[in-house]
């Protein structure tokens, strides 16, 4: 168990659990997939925060987050906050699991399945607004929010593209991706050649030592 105050952790987890269950309730399309994960228990250790938590899929509509659990986990993953951020947002979680520094014990199947359910969640934000404000007002506000999100998403993508272009073309501050990959390949090839040369030298030295002993 971590050294954090259990009450503080419980507060954070209670808030996160409530938000997750709210999101699940507003995403009926994910219920079937979550139902298939019922009973699954995942353990997550975030080394950056010295924090271990457990995620239990209770049923199709409920997730439980815990700081302490004595049951056998289906999968236990250990990594940094950055690793988990990359895993959560990745379109190819299997690749992240293989290539990042995340350590996995147990089956990766349930972890990847959960990641995919979360990333494909289609949350119907309009439903609670309509419930609270009525059909007309609720729909209008939801449309307004959707426009704001669309604009935000477009602005984010555009900013990312422009920053990337500036760094590459205008500022010449970073090399193009292809050039970088070529450089990595060259470094890797050099490292392998050095390894081979070192092995050859060791072999020759061993041979010379043997020759000296026999003389």
């Amino acid at each position: 168990m971590t050294q954090h105050d259990p009450a503080l952790l419980s507060a954070a987890l209670a808030g996160a659990e409530r938000a997750m269950n709210q999101a699940i309730a507003l995403s009926p399309t994910s219920h079937q997939a979550l139902g298939g994960l019922s009973g699954t228990l995942l353990g997550v250790e975030v080394t950056t925060l010295d924090l271990t938590l457990y995620i239990k899929m209770v049923d199709a509509t409920e997730v439980r987050l815990m700081t302490h659990c004595e049951d056998q986990t289906d999968a236990f993953v250990r990594g940094t906050l950055e690793d988990f951020g990359a895993l959560a947002t990745s379109e190819d979680p299997a690749a992240i699991l293989i290539n990042s520094s995340i350590e996995l014990q147990g089956s990766s199947h349930s972890l990847i399945a959960l990641q995919q359910v979360v990333s494909r969640m289609d949350i119907d934000w309009e439903a609670p607004l309509v419930d609270a404000l009525g059909d007309v007002m609720g729909h209008q506000i939801a449309e307004g929010l959707r426009s704001v999100f669309r604009w935000g998403e477009g602005a984010r993508a555009s900013l990312k593209r422009q920053v990337s272009e500036y760094l590459l073309e205008e500022g010449r501050l970073t090399p193009p991706k292809a050039e970088l990959e070529h450089f990595y390949d060259a470094v890797q090839s050099l490292a392998m050649r050095v390894d081979r040369a070192q092995n050859q030298v060791e072999k020759l030295l061993a041979k010379a030592a043997l020759k000296r002993e026999t003389q």
């Binding site: 105050d5 009450a7 419980s10 209670a14 700081t67 049951d71």
Partner: protein, 258 residues
């Protein structure tokens, strides 16, 4: 106030603590009953006000430490208004059983009504019982919790032995109780809060400052973390340990029956 904290290595004479007052042993249970009769109807509201809602987090962590499994039998002593019992009811499922026990009938009545309102009464039994003399068979309970109740028990050693008796081998006891803040500064702030603000809140919300003054005093007289740990070991619990919460204002002690 820490020097006032009694180690409650149960008193040798025929008196015991009732807050900062010494009273006859036989009278304490009745006096505690009087306090809780007075606050029963607003107990949860006052708990929320007194702790800023943090008592829910302390209880949440305690429930996690119970590691309850479906089909188990859980005894919640001093369970009062039934908030832990409602949660346990879901965790043990239809094959399990939760026993909500309290010495105080008024608290149990509030708890039972609340559980019925929540639709959580199917696998819950409500029993009026004294923690010192639990009316259950030996080795019959998988897990016992007592949240904010042990300090009101007249003889804590007898109560701990009674709990050990009814636990199954391998079963566990969780004691959630106010304890001693780990930082002296926090201790001073907490004393001010307990003896100035808490009775005032009791007067405003429950029209009963005296009962809430007793609650503050009884917290100060309750054994600190290490003393309670030693008492659990004396009673026969093994693998005992505790977790401080909110700077030691509250601690949850855990022990197992060998």
């Amino acid at each position: 106030m820490s020097e006032d904290r009694a180690n409650t290595a149960e008193d040798n004479d025929n008196t015991t603590d009732f807050g900062f007052t010494r009273v006859d042993r036989d009278a304490k249970a009745g006096m505690v009953r009087g306090v809780f009769d007075s606050v029963a109807s607003r107990y949860d509201l006052m708990n929320d006000l007194m702790s800023g809602g943090i008592h829910r987090l302390w209880k949440r962590f305690t429930i996690e430490l119970c590691a309850v499994r479906p089909g188990q039998t859980i005894l919640d002593i001093a369970g009062g208004t039934g908030d832990l019992a409602a949660r346990f009811s879901r965790l043990v499922g239809q094959d399990g059983k939760v026993i909500l026990a309290d010495i105080n009938a008024a608290m149990l009545e509030v708890g039972r009504d609340r559980l019925i309102d929540k639709g959580a009464s199917d696998n819950i039994e409500v029993v009026q019982a004294d923690a010192q003399y639990l009316p259950f068979a030996d080795n019959s309970i998988d897990c016992i919790t007592i949240a904010f109740g042990l300090r009101n028990v007249t003889d804590k050693a007898i109560a701990l032995q009674s709990m050990l008796r009814v636990l199954r081998p391998g079963g566990r006891l969780l004691v959630l109780e106010f304890s001693k803040p780990t930082s002296p500064l926090l201790g001073k702030i907490y004393d001010q809060y307990s003896f100035q603000i808490l009775p005032a809140m009791g007067r405003l919300v429950a029209q009963d400052a005296d009962s809430y003054r007793y609650l503050a005093e009884s917290i100060r007289k309750h054994p600190d973390q290490e003393t309670l740990l030693a008492m659990m070991a004396d009673a026969g619990f093994v693998e005992s340990r505790y977790h401080n919460m909110t700077g030691g204002i509250v601690a949850v002690h855990q022990g197992f029956k060998a």
